[in-house]
Symmetry: C2
Subunit: 382 residues, 2 copies
């Protein structure tokens, strides 16, 4: 299924406390990560891939569970041998963020201070906190400077944040389907999703672990809301239209339309594996991301500190983070005379397009990595 074959997650434990944007600290933590490809001798070919809301360090390749169930990485169409981000050339790192539910330290893990799961007391983390934690992992892996830091959506925010927090530790930032900050409407959708979780009686103020339950109904509704915003009106119309599940109206509150069946299924599935506290944390990190805020709401000033070259990609039907939001970043970079490549891809799939196979999109990213690869060769020759 994956041309990378079987991959294995690794983990790194950190004992030095990490000071967070909130002022709190996280004393002791583990990051789970995967790597693909080989770090070259001068350590110039490392690429960090940052994940979005419900993804993880499992970017590419395959796991085979004890039950024989296969799980392919979430960006396996992008990362692998011969793929746009070619692991025959680059050493790629995928890292799971703090607060996640896929291995790195999160709210379901014991708080060393109490021995009980953090639950609601897990500190609120920001995109910047994640980036600082990722930088420590890079230190441990001996990577001074990344050839590129790359991500889509929330992952794109991390790539952008890297370019501001560690300008000399990366040569390229690849920011896909992202935004310099959430709009009021974006925040509104996130907050409704959070309210669905927070008011689920099974949430127990975040300490549901101790009660042996999961706020499944809240998570389910949260995911359904999110999922609507990932798809475009057009792609939903094309995929589902008003198709009925059973040929005619049922005159009840079961399933009438295929779109209902699809969304409920997505919600059910998500509620079985995702952690409710993680959902709250990650949506807050999205809401809080606003690098211009400390620069008088001036994105140009915020991006003045960057040194990287940039690739930005947006998708025409993405109404969550529309092309206009990417263009704001492009404009601010141009104002700073940074080198920027910008591609606006005419794709019907809404925000989800960044995860899908689209030849123009894939070729854009492939061509950009080709350029990075040639630069590495030139630096080595110089």
């Amino acid at each position: 299924m994956s041309s990378l074959g079987i991959v294995t997650p690794q983990s790194m434990h950190f004992k030095t406390p990490l000071r967070l944007s909130s002022g709190a600290s996280i004393a002791d933590y583990t990051l789970v990560y995967e790597t693909y490809g080989t770090l070259n001798a001068d350590r110039s070919n490392a690429v960090l891939v940052c994940h979005a809301l419900n993804a993880s360090h499992h970017v590419a390749g395959m796991y085979v569970g004890a039950d024989g169930k296969k799980s392919v990485g979430w960006w396996d169409n992008m990362v692998g041998p011969g793929k746009p981000l070619d692991t025959d050339r680059f050493f790629v790192i995928g890292v799971n963020n703090l607060g996640s539910c896929f291995g790195s330290t999160g709210p379901m893990h014991p708080d060393p201070a109490t021995g009980k799961p953090y639950g609601a007391s897990f500190p609120v983390v920001t995109v910047e906190d994640w980036v600082r934690a990722q930088a420590r992992l890079a230190d441990e892996l001996g990577i001074r400077q990344f050839a590129a830091v790359m991500g889509g959506s929330l992952g794109g925010m991390q790539a952008l944040s890297w370019s501001m927090l560690f300008p000399d530790r990366m040569r390229h930032a690849i920011v896909i389907a992202s935004t310099p900050k959430l709009s009021a409407q974006n925040i509104a959708f996130n907050d409704v999703a959070r309210q669905a979780i927070l008011t689920d009686p099974d949430f127990h103020g975040g300490d549901f672990y101790a009660h042996g339950v999961v706020p499944r109904n809240g998570l389910r509704v949260a995911r359904m809301i999110g999922h609507i915003t990932y798809l475009s009106d057009d792609s939903m119309a094309e995929k589902f239209a008003r198709r009925l599940r059973n040929g005619d109206y049922q005159f009840g509150f079961g399933i009438d339309f295929e779109i209902e069946s699809y969304l409920r299924y997505q919600g059910d599935k998500f509620s079985e594996y995702f952690d409710a506290n993680t959902y709250l944390l990650i949506t807050k990190a999205l809401d809080y991301f606003d690098p211009a805020r400390e620069h008088g709401d001036d994105l140009t000033r915020a991006l003045a500190q960057t040194e990287a070259r940039f690739l930005l990609v947006s998708f025409t039907t993405d109404w969550r983070f529309s092309p206009q939001r990417s263009r704001e970043i492009v404009q601010a970079l141009v104002n700073n005379k940074r080198k920027v490549t910008y591609a606006e891809i005419d794709a019907p799939h809404g925000h989800d397009a960044f995860l899908l196979e689209d030849p123009r999109y894939m070729n854009t990213v492939r061509a950009y990595y080709e350029r990075i690869w040639q630069e590495i060769a030139q630096r080595r020759a110089a």
Copy 2:
């Protein structure tokens, strides 16, 4: 506050069973309604105003509660003496639909068969069922033919349905911010809202009345989702932007942003007065509305049976029922050589614009009623 002054709801009891679209019947029911203005001698000046999701028969004028609290009708800016729909000229009827929670027979009322509240057993009703019930009310009030049937959003669907079910009982249809059918995305939002209610443990399968509780959390989330779709991205950005309630990030899950505070307040308020079963019923009526369905999905054929003249109005930033949806109706009417006036109003307020004061919008409706008024005078002179 209202130029109509104090108004009083009336009610009409119907003993002949109403056969519903589902095949079920409702044996015995009451409709609550209000009237403003005076029916003229030849009964030619009656206008029916149909309500949308969370509105009622209380279209205009004012109630004063026992506690002195005033309640102004939901379209008081549109209907009243000297208003676009001028009650000095027209006899206006507002009627509360079956299944509502504002007086007409609904799920909170006793089922005559059991003596207990209908709850989940209240039959699923359609736009067409409402229209047939409204026609019976018109019979009782001695109105053979309306000068106009008018509504916005779901109310516009009723006006459109009237033009197909009772073509000779109306001279004009005024259809504002509406659609010939919901899109997959529209249905998706409705279904998430319903799921929030249906999975609230306090819903008790619809029989929460017997348990002395209300599925408040579900209703609250449902309303928050709905509310986001009524506003435009732009108007939210203008009204709230990323303004913080307390000047800085709180690093918790209380209120950070003003938009959160606003939406939660809307949700809280709604959950205190709206009935959960009514919410389910009304969203289903929205989902099921699709008059072209019985005509091979051909809207032109569906509208061939109409005789009325039409005014359609849409609003540029309405992403719930966008101008494109109104244009589909206009096109189908034009295909049938019906007389149609269409106004696309450049307004920033999204779907909610149909309830708001906008001079171009108000003047469009006013001019159209002026024309209707002159026709009435001409008919009388003839």
